[in-house]
Every structure is written in structure tokens, then in C-alpha cells.
């Protein structure tokens, strides 16, 4: 049932990497997790070791109203995955027009997916405002805005605070309460990174859900198409990831049914 959206007004901040690793961490804790890729980059599948030649997916076929059940993949990590699917410019424009014309095209299958009370759904959304995010945000239990510890991310704090990138008016005001921030790529030895981190910590207060230290092993884990908790479970970033996952679980409130065995369904 819980839907956690990973979003950001800025691109290249590590949304997809964090979404994949948080999904993996939740799955290791016995949760049944479905990760859905709403980003046309179609990169989430690579984190889950899908072949690069596998280009089918859910969102790219959404105008044709596909049955999402037939497109769900069971990855080797145990996390279920709905890839976005490869698309081109025309496909992306058609998808945007279709969602603009008929939001129910996405809302209806999402309601079906979220009807499972024991399923944690992780949504990786494209950077900035998007049709997908505007449809998903009212359904979500939490929107995790990912920011980097740099100046340009800090400049976007007003948009984070008022939730304007989630929508406008009442929706933005409603969603601002569900918005949490994860600060990614903190470089403790960088003067500016420390300054931005401290400023955001002071400004966001309890809305700062997690802080992930910059770790070379994170990038190498992505390159190896593995998860950080597999490659470097004792690293600082792995510890930060575990704490962030714990904070997400705590914020979700009542824990859904746990599954004892990893990968068992």
C-alpha cells in the first residue's frame, strides 16, 4: 500500500540510485517491494541488472493501456520492477499528451497496484514537474525530494519548501506536509558541501529525512549493476542508506506485513 515517490526539482541528484538502493534495503528487511520507473531515461532497470537490451516497459506502452501485471519483472534481488521502457521523442510526446488528456490512464493502474496492502511501492519520477509526479503525489504516502549538497540544489530549497514542483495551489499545500528531503552526495572534506549541508539541516529541520555521504563505492556499485549493501555494506554511505531506510519505515507508520525470508513471496 505505501507509495514512496523519489522526486526532485533538479536532475542528476541520484534519485534513481537512491530509489533502487532504498528498495533493495527495504526488501532486505523483509518487505515486498515494487519499484516503478516513471523516468523516460529508463535507467532504473539497470540498477536491477536487467539486460540493457531489454527495453520493454510500462510507461512507454501506457497510451496503449497495457496490463501492468504482464510487465512486472522479478529481479534477482527479489524486488519487483516495472521498467519504464524505451521511448523516443514521439513516444514521450504522445505519453505526455495522453496523460494530460486522461490522467486516469495512469491513476487507474496505480490504484490497482496500491490495493495490495503488503506491497511497498517505490516510484522513481523524472526530474522537475511532470505529469507522472502530479498524478502520483496525491496517492503517495511520502515524497522524498533528493538534493545534492551543492549551491544549485540549495537554491531550489524554496521550491522544496512550498512544494511547487509537485503541483500548484491546494495540491502543493497538501503535499508539502508529505515532503521529505534526502541530501545526497555529501562530501565531508568539501567546504562548500559542508556549508550547504549545514544550511539545509538548519533550514529543513525534521523534514530532512536522510543524508548520504558521497562514496566512491556507490558509483562502482552502479557500474557493476549491484547494490551498495552488496558491494560495501560496511561503508559510510551504506550506514547512511540504512539510516535513511529506517527513517522512511518510521515515517510510514504502521509497518505492513513482514516477510521473513529474503526473496520469498
Amino acid at each position: 500500500m505505501p507509495l514512496i515517490c523519489f522526486a526532485s526539482p533538479k536532475g542528476g541528484v541520484g534519485k534513481t540510485t537512491l530509489a533502487a538502493n532504498v528498495a533493495d534495503a527495504l526488501q532486505r528487511r523483509g518487505r515486498r517491494v515494487l519499484a516503478i520507473d516513471f523516468d523516460a531515461q529508463n535507467a532504473l532497470r539497470l540498477h536491477f541488472a536487467l539486460p540493457i537490451t531489454d527495453t520493454s516497459g510500462f510507461m512507454s506502452q501506457l497510451p496503449q493501456r497495457p496490463d501492468w501485471r504482464t510487465l512486472v519483472r522479478r529481479t534477482s534481488s527479489g524486488v519487483f520492477l516495472l521498467p519504464h521502457g524505451a521511448t523516443d521523442v514521439r513516444g514521450a510526446l504522445n505519453l505526455a499528451q495522453a496523460l494530460d488528456r486522461e490522467p486516469e490512464l495512469l491513476a487507474a493502474p496505480m490504484r490497482e497496484i496500491l490495493a495490495d496492502p503488503n506491497l511497498v511501492v517505490i516510484a522513481d519520477t523524472p526530474p522537475g514537474a511532470s505529469h507522472a509526479l502530479s498524478i502520483l503525489a496525491p496517492m503517495s504516502n511520502m515524497v522524498c525530494a533528493v538534493l545534492l549538497a551543492d549551491a544549485t540544489s540549495a537554491a531550489l530549497v524554496p521550491e522544496i519548501s512550498n512544494g511547487s514542483f509537485l503541483g500548484g495551489g491546494t495540491i502543493a499545500n497538501l503535499m508539502a506536509g508529505r515532503l521529505r528531503v534526502i541530501l545526497n552526495g555529501i562530501e565531508p572534506k568539501s567546504r562548500l558541501s559542508r556549508a550547504v549541508s549545514e544550511m539545509l539541516t538548519r533550514h529543513l529541520g525534521p523534514r530532512l529525512l536522510g543524508a548520504i555521504c558521497r562514496e566512491e563505492m556507490m558509483a562502482e556499485a552502479v557500474a557493476a549493476q549491484r547494490f551498495l549493501l552488496d558491494v560495501a555494506p560496511g561503508s559510510q554511505a551504506a550506514l547512511d542508506l540504512q539510516e535513511t531506510t529506517t527513517a522512511i519505515e518510521a515515517a510510514l507508520g504502521a509497518a505492513p506485513e513482514l516477510f521473513a525470508a529474503r526473496g520469498a513471496m
Binding site: 519487483f80 562548500l192 543524508a211 562514496e215 560496511g234 535513511t244 526473496g263
Partner: protein
């Protein structure tokens, strides 16, 4: 337009049917030419057409009046090469030495990623994988017994498996695509007892405690940091000012 034969040869050499001409009011000599096949645009064919066209032009010169110019003559013509109604004789051109080049390379080319030779040397007894662009990775883990997965018992739709439950390592990794092998994995930084977020909150809550830490906390606002980077403060000028000075001094603006 004295170089039409040259232009036609270039067009033929590049096999580019998209080259078009405007007639600029001249009588279209050849307006109903069928769309040529790509293979018919060899230099020999073009030269043959040029010779026949020049003969037609000479015939047209003998006529007393010209037909009224159609307004459509100003439109962009298709593949038809229109020559002015002036007597011209194509210059002798040496025959083309080579057959026409093949058509342009296809735009969609299957990506070819180099593979490591170690992967290609698979044991012959291994099961033949399905036709795949990438070689399979060796099986490193035994398959885990997994029941048929379903997202919802009510729906009871079996979910497809990404990989046939054996290999825990993907058959293709991004590292393979960049031919990078981690000879010695880098040593991950030793984590501190508390996480990064807890350390940040501790620094913000008590600056005095931060001073005692190994990494001194930055206590000035972000705006000052950005102004310092932009050179607004009397701090030492960044090195790129050296490069920025010259254009400013010599710019007419």
C-alpha cells in the same frame, strides 16, 4: 548556374536525391522525370542523362516561342534536375572509375560493445544461451527455491522472472561496456559511529562540539560562501580572473 554538370556529379557521387534546384523562371527542360532509384544515380547514368538533356535543350532552342511559365515552376522540384534553356554542352568528363557507393549507412546500427575475451571462452558443455547480444556471465550462485511470485493473491498472475533463477550476477554489466575491471576494489571509507545526518544535526545543534571534531564545521551562511566564490569578497581572486581580464579589456562593449 554554369556548373550544373559539376553539381550533378557531386549529387550523384553523394547519392543525394535531396539536392534540389529552383528553375528561377527558366523553362523546365525535364519536369516529369520519374523518381529515380538509388542505384540509377551512378555517375554513368547521370552523364547519360546530361547528354540527352543537352540534346533536348538544343531542340528547344529551335522553337520560336516558349510556353508560358507556370507558377509552379518556382516551387521546389523533386529529384528533377532542371537546366536553364540556354545552349550548353556538357564538358567532357572522364568516366566514373568506380561503381556508385552503397547507400548511406543505416541510421539504426546495432550497438557493438566490446566484450572481454574471458567471457567468450565459455566451456563447450555450458548450455547454449538464447540468442543474446551479450555473453552470459558465469553462474556463481545456486538458485534459490522461490515459489511462484504473485503481487496479489486475488489477481494470481504469475510474474515473469528476469533471469532464470540461477545467476546472481547479471550477464552484462555496465563495467563490461566500458571495459573496466576492478583489479583491486577500493577500500570503502570507514564509517563513523553515527551517520552523516546525525553528525550534521550535531554540528548544527552545538557548534562548539563541531570545533572539536576532525572536520571543522562551516558556520557562515551559504550566501557568504557563494559570494566568496564569485569574487565579491576581498578574498584572493580566483585564477580564472586572469583569463577573464583580457577579454574585458579588449572588448568594444
Amino acid at each position: 548556374m554554369a556548373n550544373e554538370p559539376d553539381v550533378a556529379r557531386v549529387a550523384a557521387a553523394f547519392n543525394a536525391p535531396g539536392l534540389r534546384y529552383r528553375s528561377f523562371g527558366n523553362m523546365p527542360v525535364r519536369t516529369d522525370a520519374p523518381r529515380r532509384e538509388a542505384s540509377s544515380q551512378s555517375p554513368e547514368v547521370v552523364l547519360r542523362e546530361l547528354r540527352s538533356t543537352s540534346a533536348a535543350v538544343r531542340l528547344a532552342e529551335g522553337e520560336a516561342s516558349l510556353p508560358p511559365r507556370a507558377s509552379a515552376a518556382m516551387d521546389v522540384e523533386g529529384d528533377t534536375v532542371t537546366f536553364p534553356a540556354s545552349g550548353f554542352t556538357p564538358a567532357p568528363v572522364a568516366p566514373a572509375p568506380a561503381p556508385p557507393p552503397p547507400a548511406m549507412a543505416p541510421l539504426h546500427v546495432a550497438p557493438t560493445f566490446p566484450v572481454q575475451p574471458a567471457v567468450a571462452a565459455a566451456p563447450p558443455s555450458a548450455p547454449i544461451p538464447p540468442p543474446s547480444f551479450f555473453p552470459p556471465a558465469p553462474v556463481t550462485a545456486a538458485p534459490l527455491p522461490m515459489p511462484a511470485p504473485t503481487l496479489d493473491a486475488g489477481l494470481a498472475v504469475p510474474l515473469p522472472l528476469v533471469a532464470p533463477a540461477g545467476p546472481a550476477v547479471p550477464e552484462f554489466t555496465l563495467l563490461n561496456s566500458i571495459q573496466a575491471a576492478l583489479e583491486s576494489p577500493p577500500v570503502a571509507a570507514r564509517p563513523t559511529p553515527e551517520g552523516t545526518l546525525a553528525r550534521l544535526r550535531q554540528q548544527v545543534a552545538s557548534p562548539a562540539g563541531a570545533v572539536q571534531s576532525a572536520d571543522p564545521a562551516v558556520t557562515f551562511p551559504l550566501g557568504e560562501a557563494i559570494r566568496s566564490m564569485a569574487g565579491a569578497s576581498p578574498s584572493p581572486a580566483p585564477p580564472n580572473d586572469t583569463f577573464g581580464a583580457a577579454p574585458r579589456s579588449s572588448s568594444p562593449f
